[in-house]
Symmetry: D2
Subunit: 298 residues, 4 copies
């Protein structure tokens, strides 16, 4: 099996203007920045893209805009999961038609956990699309816990080629999955990069995250994959204060949008409601962290 997707995939946030409409100009700026920074791929319509707060039309428009802007330079992964199988199939087919390279499918919310229902959901979606599928293992938002055993079982479905982990502790989960199915799935880490170095050590193919300094993650990844582990680890440790700061629940996206705004990449840091607002102290803490990251970066 050939796993083409690997490396640092940035999860795109959705920039909004002051009226909370999609700011497509900023979206294009952001895409170009990420590509110039050297990301290996782009993931859109993830939690970080506020996918649960976008209309079907908005999702299509974002997908089209990003596909056009990327223009084949790197692979694009689109989030297409839904509460129901039919809706997920519809989103998946639309994304395929627009021209993404892979779909990332979150499990459906279930009142009661049920491995068979989840298996059937992925199987039924896989039947209807021609693209490789990334399992989105994100229990915090979707409330579904996928065991390594279930993920191994999902890997028997044709086209299910990747898993993207947000289920902490990700390092142990990578090892548990690989003990069951070796490299049958390409594994992407997550959690904002908090365990990126360990994820790579354990055999991750890369990471998908919305960290606002993708160039640092790329450095870490490339040092690691070219055998310079000490260098990779040192870069990682240097970035940890900010990685950790961005990883705070509830405010993670707001912090990232604020940093992207300061970097001149998006016009407004607005997050769609309901959203926890950054307080003044957070803005000051961001000041301090960005100063330090600039001093300490190579």
């Amino acid at each position: 099996m050939s796993q083409i997707l690997k490396g640092v995939y940035v999860i795109l946030p959705t920039p909004f203007d002051e009226q909370r409409r999609i700011d497509f100009a900023s979206l294009k700026t952001l895409v170009d920045f990420e590509l110039n920074a050297g990301v290996h791929g782009i993931t859109l319509l993830g939690i970080l893209g506020e996918v649960t707060r976008l209309s079907d039309t908005e999702k299509r428009e974002i997908t089209r805009a990003v596909v056009n802007q990327v223009n084949g330079r790197v692979p694009i992964v689109a989030g297409t999961g839904a509460s129901g199988t039919d809706l997920a199939i519809m989103y998946s087919k639309e994304a395929e038609e627009i021209g993404v390279d892979s779909i990332m499918v979150a499990p459906p919310r279930l009142l009661k956990p049920n491995d068979d229902a989840i298996f059937n959901y992925y199987r039924d979606i896989a039947k209807e699309v021609h693209l490789p599928i990334v399992i989105q293992d994100e229990p915090t938002t979707y409330g579904v816990h996928m065991s390594p055993t279930l993920i191994a079982r999902l890997s028997t479905i044709e086209k299910v080629d990747y898993v993207k982990l947000e289920d902490a502790p990700t390092p142990l989960k990578i090892t548990a999955i690989r003990n069951l199915i070796e490299n049958k799935l390409g594994i992407f880490g997550g959690l904002g990069g908090l365990y990126f170095y360990e994820e790579l050590l354990r055999g991750a193919s890369g990471i998908m995250t919305g960290f606002a300094y993708p160039e640092i993650l790329i450095h870490i990844y490339e040092s690691f994959t070219t055998g310079r582990r000490d260098s990779s680890r040192n870069l990682f440790y240097t970035a940890l204060p900010l990685i950790r700061y961005e990883a705070q629940p509830l405010v993670s996206l707001a912090i990232r949008k604020e940093i992207l705004r300061r970097r001149g990449l998006i016009k407004s840091a607005i997050v769609r409601d309901p959203a926890t607002k950054l307080d003044l102290e957070t803005l000051k803490e961001i000041d301090e962290l960005l100063q330090i990251i600039k001093q300490r970066s190579p």
Copy 2:
């Protein structure tokens, strides 16, 4: 304050054909049946309508079809809640334009409970619409627990005129809310009618539920509101075996669709996946219950 909505509001299921596409012919048959049965109003795009498994386009089409078919004969309430405020406003405005009489708004999912966020959500939606709003208090699906104190606070928002309860025990919650704000909100019971008689005793304005024999609920309601409490209670007790049977978690909707199919109102009992399938024993139990309900009905 004038609360116009009261009585038995049936929550419409969404009929699908064997390819799981919306079956609009059955939808119209169903609407006519409900109106002939004498329901006081119709609620669409609730949990029972599989709203979380419909595309935005499908939601609009269902709303249009029902508004056309009802043609002003009874008030229509449309579910328009969403994970985010902007999306809920969009759904609400669309429903208003199509011509519904009220919107029923579920709270947004939140990683952490937060009364202020919920208040702001309802306040922001109320600013953008002209219709009366029904608070949908449904913690099982949405994971949000609204205390009587919060509901009382929401009632201070102009246009928030009703609450529909699914938070057991509903009888005590009705009393707790009325102790705080008397009749400021019209209160609809739920839970499939399992406590309908007690809800009425406690001052409910009516019920919203998808029980497959709306004519029985109407009988109970009209006996009650015309002062024949013993008769109302006896009718209620007679219907309890079926009410209780339909109220089973996970399979409630599938049981109702199966009964509606047997009553000749919809062509197929299909529920969109992931869904727990009825087993053979359930089909037999439905046989027995329907025989008895026919014998015992007045």
Copy 3:
């Protein structure tokens, strides 16, 4: 395999005095009442016994008091689950030494669902006791969802001979378990008896519940097991208004204690805090229901 436990097992509440200390005199009165009513067994230290609000000493004292009072007249099942394996083993051994006939083991709370961890927990407990084990499948309180597949797997552990279901819908779960392992486990229904008739139809060995009129459940059970199904069903339907009323979440135990108090079986209806208090309307509704149950009972 011989499954000795079957029939109507009453789950004993823990009576408290006005200072919220255990009222052992009432406990003895209650035990004698249940035995005179004809229950086939007694279950203690369940959720309904407020087990999560008892000290280790209190648990021991209750177990001793009940074992003494029952004095071998019917089998006794004691709840001995815990958050950890070692603690569950300790409780189980203590119950065994005091002289109960079986232990009912709830799963441990887990931050993340994990079938293997649950299997190992039951296996390790089973190694340390000599009594038959009842799996307590109660997701509402313990937050653990056990699939029929997991329950079938647990049935391979020696001494794991029974399961007591509180996971709605229980009728379908009974059938799903029996489809996997036939009669390898004796299955007890629950949910306050709300689906008792269907549970029996599906092959349940009995029920464990704290319904305040055990004599009615015994009637239903004995009619059923002696082949008088219509009679059993009619008795069940007659009791449904009260069964349903007692089954209300949050206040179920308080309602039952209030009824037991009115029946002269316990001195006080006090429930340990935090507890939702019954309002005046609830007390009136109980009046009405008890009058009717007396009129309608055979």
Copy 4:
């Protein structure tokens, strides 16, 4: 109001021998190590002490052993929360009699969130004890989300003098609480120290955590409180790789016990079941992290 407790409070793990019995010798070694390291206080019977897996007798024995070993050298805080008010009062009184200086009270588990029930719980406990009370704000284990508004309300109860936060993001929560009640409560941070520097910046009085290198936290704290913020921050950043590594859900305690074992402070790293076991890669990652922490420590 005088808040005496402040600084670095280590949460003691409970050392077990190979038979999973409490290893009191290691417990004493550990206490002496912590005091020599300079901790400002000791917290026992927290989540990290596996409190949910200890019998009542074991809790008492641990409390006695630690009180004896500390012998008045630093204040001791004992966890005494419970699922019910009466049980929490019993634990609190026992801890008071044995001689601890403060009690840390976790909220009771509730099927439905309910601010009034939580308020009454703390109020009723406070009536029965003479010690200052620390609110344990730990939603992950106890499932109770306490809003800043509720915490402010709890601070009106006499003796409720502190709050220990585990509810991420803790920095924003500290500010939100202080905006409501200034310094009415002493606030301890948590989350394994992941935001310790920001917590101090926001006005935390200290931290309670089980980080296995308390001497580093003490350094950070003392640098901070003596006005050397840059030094404090640099120390914090240096420790972040390990702080972050120990903070992994599910395996945090196992990692800490393994490190304490390597430091010669406890004989065995055993954690009571059900527990996620450390895999070989984790042991290697600990090797690497400990080497680095030794190189980088001042």
